[in-house]
Every structure is written in C-alpha cells, then in structure tokens.
C-alpha cells in the first residue's frame, strides 16, 4: 500500500550517478517543467499538493512559496536546508547520500518555479562525504546541461552551490542558516521580517527542507492532485520516517501519512516490533524536541481511536496527551530505558547547542541540564521537579527562535507523563544510581 515517491529507485545499483538516474527517468521532470510549464503553474501544483514542510514545523510549502516577495531588480534565492541535526532524524542524510540527483532535480524545478538564479544547499559540516557526493552530482548535471547557463535552451540560468555548515544545530533554524550562509555567526534573526521578504543578503528567500524539495519532482510528473490523494486530510503525501531505538528494524521508511502508529511499530514492513522479550514504554515521534509520550498515549487517542502518523493525529490532545510529527525522528523506548537519563541527555544537547543570543534559552537550558543531572546522579531535591516545570514554562514561547521551545518541551512532557519516575530518582538516590537501574514501578507498558 505504501507509495514510493522519493525512495522508488533507491535500491537501484549506481543510482547516485547521473547515467543510471537518467535511465530511471531522472531529469524528465526538469524537462517537463522548464519546457512545458510556467513557474506560476508549478507553484500552483505544489499548492494543490498541500505538501507540508518536512523539516519539522509542517508549514505548507506552497503557501511559503506564494509569500515570496517579488520586487523588481532584486534577486531571489532558494536555500535548501540540509543541516539536519535533530537527534533521532537522519532521513535527509539518507536521501542525499543515495539519491543526490533527486535533490538536484528538485532544486532545479523549485528554483525555476521561484525565479531564483542562484540556489544553495546548506549541508551540515559533519557530512563531508555527502557534500562530495552532491558536488560530484552537480558537476555531472552541469556537464549534461541541466545546470548552468541557458538550461535546455530555455534561457533560464541556475547556479547551484553546496555550502558546508560548521556543525551547529542552531544553523538548522532558517534565519540562523541564512546568517551562517552569509558568513556571519549563526544567530537566529528576529522575525518579522520573514525570509520571504528579507532573507539571504536582505533579498527574498525561500528556505525548504531536503525532503520537501525532493517531492517537487514527483509533483511535476504526476500533478498536485495526485499527491494530495495520498495521505489523510491536510497531511498529504508520503513522509520519510527515521525509525530508531528499541525496535527490530531501525532505518528510514517512506510511509503514506495516515498509517497507524501501532502498525508502523509492529508491522514487518516497517519497524518490525519492539525487540524480543521487551515491552514498549515511550515514544518520541518526531525528533528529540517534540514531547515524549508514554506507550498507551502514543498508540491510542483519548477517545480510544488509533493514533495515526499524521500531523493532526499526533498533535491531537495538544501537549497534554499529544505530541508532534516534527521532522519524523521516530525514537522508540522499551522498559529498560530510564526517562530521567534520557531527558537529561536531550537537555544536555540543547544546552550545548543554544546559540546564547537571548537570555531565557542561554541561561535556562543550562539550568535545566544541571538540575536534571543532579536528579539523575542522586542529588535531587524534592522541589526540583516543580523547579524544572517552572523553568521550562519560562523558556517556552519567550525566545527568539524555536530552540527554546524545543529545549523546554521534552523536559515538560517527560515530567507530565513520567513524574513518578523523577520522584523515584529523588526518593531513592542510592538505588537509582546503581548501574543500569531503571524505575520499575507502575506504568503503562504495551
């Protein structure tokens, strides 16, 4: 039942080379787009498709494109956000490594639709070998006339530049990415103005995720309506999910949005169930920054229906009983995982990655990490749990960029759903600090 939009040819040997990719029908979408379609028509198709940004926020891509300001005489830019650094998410890495030409094809189509003559792929610095793959693919495409001056004799020019980042998580935030791309310190900008009005070098800019851009190839071939037919409601199309944790088959899976969470975890087609002899305890559904859910809430909604892998269903119940699809970093925990340690680990990450520009995030992330560290290592106080909740609530929503929220949500949700476990750590420090000690009290295991 799963439609393969992005990963259809991923197993073809040599697909990373131009010739093999071309043989599988590659770059025909570019030909179709540039020769037979107008930029407006492409934007219209993407709008119809209802693709939602795959980087985490889920903002409709077509709407983002239509917000792009088009003043006369000012260049416009398309920037591909390949700075994937959310813990638990590794889909863009997988896509770029195996199918570099799919991204390049998508970049050409998107740049043409937006009227950009210079486009950038900002890749996180740790992925040097992926950058080499992309640069090789760009050189091949350029040699065949799909990039550079006068593409396919249409008069449209496009230069595609791969820019390695310095490996900072914050540079995955679109305005910090633009600052970094300009050669400055990767500090997020205050919004408004949004990048669609003043982005890269103060020019109108669209920043899209790798996966979002790659989908445009299929949309040009099959039309927006065909894309919108996949999925449920406003969650259209397919999504790459990076599944990891205590499951039998970790890996990247392309699913139709709307697959029940339960099926995704237990079906042999996907994760293949929890590892033998263990039980499902908790789920982080969309990368480390989304709220963590206990097993029962992850599988079913409050009204008893099955929870589905869609933007809406996962966020059903708000933050009280819901979470978010985010970037699709699907981390499964079994009963041997300590939630306190895991929360501390996430918190440590955000503390390390905070850019330090605005005060709640700079000071708050460090504070939360220290308090979680002392709970985990048996020095917690009774008031520490409430302190964490209070600090998280004072960071959330008060920062320049969403990193503050991303740091606050895992802590707040872990305490909301696993408070007894934190309390157990504080009450029984000797027992809790034994190697491998995990809370075994009452909890909803599946």
């Amino acid at each position: 039942m799963a439609t393969k939009i992005l990963t259809q040819y991923i197993d073809v040997p040599g697909i990373e080379t131009f010739d093999v990719y071309r043989k599988q029908g590659g770059y025909t979408a570019v030909e179709k787009a540039i020769k037979t379609m107008t930029p407006e028509a492409i934007v219209e198709e993407v709008k119809k498709a209802g693709v939602r940004g795959r980087g985490g926020a889920g903002f409709p891509m077509g709407m983002k494109w239509s917000f792009l300001a088009k003043p006369e005489g000012v260049p416009r830019y398309l920037v591909c956000n390949a700075d994937e650094s959310e813990p638990g998410t590794f889909k863009d890495h997988y896509l770029m490594k195996n199918l570099p030409h799919l991204l390049i094809e998508g970049m050409i189509i998107s740049s043409f639709a937006l009227g950009a003559n210079k486009s950038f792929i900002y890749v996180r610095g740790e992925l040097m070998y992926v950058i080499r793959i992309l640069e090789k693919a760009i050189a091949e495409a350029k040699a065949k006339g799909f990039l550079g001056k006068n593409i396919l004799g249409s008069g449209y020019d496009l230069e595609l530049i791969v820019q390695p980042g310095g490996g900072a998580y914050i540079c995955g935030e679109e305005t910090a990415l633009l600052e970094s791309l300009e050669g400055k310190r990767g500090n997020p900008r205050n919004k408004p103005p949004f990048p669609a009005v003043k982005g890269l070098y103060q020019c109108p800019t669209v920043v899209n995720n790798v996966e979002s851009i790659a989908t445009t190839t299929w949309i040009v071939h099959n039309g927006g309506d065909a894309y919108a037919a996949i999925g449920i409601g406003r969650s259209t199309g397919t999504k790459l999910i990076s599944a990891s944790g205590h499951i039998n088959k970790p890996g990247v899976y392309e699913i139709d949005l709307g697959v029940p969470v339960e099926d995704f975890i237990y079906a042999d087609e996907w994760c293949g169930g929890i590892r033998p002899g263990h039980k499902f305890k908790a789920l982080v559904a969309g990368g480390s920054s989304v709220p963590i859910l206990p097993a029962n809430l992850a599988l079913t909604l409050e009204n008893g229906d099955k929870r589905l892998m869609t933007y809406e269903s996962l966020s059903e119940g708000g933050f009280k009983t819901g979470t978010m699809l985010g970037s699709g970093g699907f981390i499964v925990f079994d009963e041997t995982s300590c939630i306190v340690r895991n929360t501390w680990n996430f918190s440590r990450f955000y503390h390390h990655e905070s850019c330090g520009q605005c005060s709640p995030c700079r000071e708050g992330t460090g504070w939360m990490e220290k308090v979680l560290h002392r709970i985990e290592y048996g020095h917690g106080h009774q008031q520490d749990i409430d302190l964490l909740v209070d600090v998280a609530s004072k960071i959330e929503g008060n920062t320049i960029c969403p990193l503050g929220d991303a740091a606050a949500w895992p802590v707040a949700s872990a305490i909301r759903h696993f408070r007894e476990e934190f309390q157990w750590h504080i009450d029984n420090p000797t027992e809790a600090t034994q190697p491998g000690a995990v809370y075994r009290g009452e909890m909803a295991l599946v």
Binding site: N190, S354, C355, C358, S359, R362, E363, W367, L387, N398
Partner: protein
C-alpha cells in the same frame, strides 16, 4: 482626500491611549507615554541600529493586533522590535503573564551574574539593578557554581569584567556603528559565549570608550575611574569643550573639586545622546578644560540626585504591590490601651506608603 501627513496610529498601552507615527515600535510608543508604562530594556538601545530582541525583558502581550484584525498575538512579543498597528491594544504591567515572564527573565539574567554590586562601579546606574529591583526576588533557586571567566586585558582604558556580562550585544553594535573597525565580538556559543577580542588584542580606537556608556551592567568599566568612588557620591555637571573629533558635549562627574569621571550625556532612558571621543573621556579631566553648563538633570533610575534616593525613582505601583504583598497582621500582645495608641489599619498602611514616597513639593 490627499493627505500628505502620515496618518497617526492610535495605540493603547495599559489602558492609556497614545498616537504615534507609523513604524514606531511598541516600546517607543510606551516611552512616549512615560516611565510608568515603559517596558524595561536591557539590550535595546535606540541610537544603535539592529539592537534589541535579545534580553526578552521588554516582552509584552498584544491583546489586539490592530483595529482591522483584533485577534491577540499568540505569544508575548518583544516590544522593542514589534511595530505598532492602528488600534493595537498592548498589555504591559497590567498582565500577570507579562510580569511572570519578566520575573523569569530577571532570574535567568541573575543566574550567572556575580551580584558583586558592593564592589561594582556600575552600581547605582545599572540597568540590571533597576530591572531586578522591579521584578527580581530576594533569593535564588540556583545552587550550582556560577559561570566565571578568565580576566582579559583589552587595553589601557577599558576594563572587561566578563563575569558580569549579560550578552546584550550593545558594545558589539557600538563598535560596528561608530568606530571604523571592530576588534571585539562575541566568541563561543550558548552560556559559554563571551565578549572578547581575538587573542587579547587591545581595543585601540578614538571612540572605543563609548562601549562603557552603553554597557547596561558593569562588564565594561572605565579604568581611569575604577574603584575611585560610588556614583551616588559624585555630582554630575553638564559641560562642553571645543573638541576636534567629537561634539565635546559631556557630563563631568565631580567629587569635591576634582573631576573623577567623564561620560557622554544620557537621556532619561539611560541612552547616550551624543557619543564622545576617548580624549574627552579619559584624558581631559581638569575643570579648566571645560565650559560648565550647569548641573545635569537626573531623572528616573538614578540614585545620584541629591546623593540620596529620589522618591520618583520608585514607581507608585511598586509601593502598592509591596504593601499588598508584605503587609501582615502582627499580633501584638502588649497592652497599649493605656498609651492611647491605635494600630494602623491595613488599608491605611497601603494608602500612606505610596504617598509617603511621593516627591516633596
């Protein structure tokens, strides 16, 4: 219907209406009304382009976006960067959510602040002190070690005391915008970021001294004034001189007959009105060098005036809040009937406290 004048926008801040020009930010509109409703600003500095948005102290709630679209904004917004719309309704001190957020910001800023006010030269004219006085708590919930930094030498005139820094970026913008070459900046990331020069390079520039004036805390202080006095023992006097590099309009700070410090003039929001050069600031400290204009008008956030606390530096609302929060009925077992003293009823206390603090006529 051609109107050449720009249409004025009507904004309501804490129930007070004000009309401002398009493009004005909420903070500027609030400042137009007066100190009572102006949100605190630790990083925003009007003369510096691009400043603001970092400290989050000026967060306000927009209860209605505009007359056309009266929906409230979902999050608190930084008033220093948000432009007003016609018919906007802003809640500042009247909204408990805003107060709560500000209390949080003070707490965050003070987490790693050394609180060495007793030995800090900035004490008495420190933005963080004022902010903490309005929104801070007397105790801390932070138990861990505070962040400290190795001392860095950045030249003969300016003392960098990084431990006190709240990373407002004002000095970075100052160096960018009023000097021709910036040699200091923010190094490092997150709570390890620090202001510094690359490999302790000295800051050597005619206008470098202005970073001292813009610093909201005591992270950048004047080496020629360091530990010489407390600001509330000194008398500020406006003066000018014919300076070839800058406007020459300064404030001289006297201790007795001696000029112990020279700074740029500041407006009522503690913002420099005209930047001055290093020669005026550090090397011209004789009364004979200057033409004296008269005593500096000291307003708001200052303990300097008349060498004592001025009553109007304390917002009346603070007194009422204090009275409401702190007043407790203390059971008095002593028999006072024979003395003819009646205890003051609580509502009387709440009423008399603010009026007692009002400026003397």
């Amino acid at each position: 219907m051609e109107d050449t004048k720009p249409q004025l926008l009507k904004v309501t801040i804490d129930g007070i209406d004000v009309e401002v020009e398009p493009g004005t930010t909420i903070l500027q509109a609030a400042r137009k009304i007066g100190p009572a409703v102006a949100p605190p600003a630790m990083c925003y500095y009007e003369p510096l382009k691009g400043s603001g948005g970092k400290c989050r102290a000026c967060l306000v709630r927009v209860a209605a976006g505009s007359a056309k679209d009266p929906r409230p904004m979902p999050k608190l917004v930084a008033s220093c960067l948000t432009a007003v719309q016609d018919g906007m309704i802003v809640e500042n001190e009247t909204n408990p959510q805003v107060i709560e957020a500000r209390n949080g910001i003070v707490e965050f800023l003070l987490l790693n602040h050394p609180l060495d006010c007793p030995v800090c030269d900035q004490a008495g004219e420190c933005d963080l002190q004022n902010f903490a006085f309005d929104h801070g708590k007397a105790t801390t919930r932070y138990e861990e070690d505070r962040r400290t930094f190795e001392k860095q030498d950045i030249g003969p005139y300016i003392q960098l005391h990084m431990t006190r820094c709240i990373l407002c970026y004002r000095c970075v913008y100052t160096a960018d915008q009023i000097t021709n070459k910036r040699v200091h900046g923010v190094l490092g990331r997150g709570d390890a970021s620090e202001i510094g020069t690359y490999i302790e390079k000295a800051i050597d520039n005619d206008f470098s001294g202005n970073v001292i004036d813009v610093c909201p805390v005591g992270a950048l202080t004047d080496k020629t004034y360091r530990f010489k006095n407390r600001v509330w023992f000194t008398k500020p006097v406006d003066a000018h001189r014919n300076c070839p590099t800058c406007s020459g309009k300064v404030t001289l700070w006297y201790r007795g007959e001696e000029v112990i410090r020279v700074t740029a003039r500041k407006n009522e929001w503690n913002e420099v009105t005209e930047f001055i050069c290093n020669t005026c600031r550090f090397d011209t400290k004789k009364t004979s060098d200057w033409s004296i204009e008269g005593p500096t008008k000291i307003s708001r956030s200052s303990v300097i005036s008349a060498n004592k606390y001025r009553a109007d530096t304390i917002k009346p609302s603070f007194g009422q809040r204090l009275a409401a929060a702190e007043y407790k009925e203390v059971p008095d077992e002593r028999d006072t009937s024979q003395l003819g003293i009646k205890p003051l009823p609580p509502e009387r206390f709440a009423k008399t406290l603010p009026s007692a603090m009002a400026p003397e006529p």
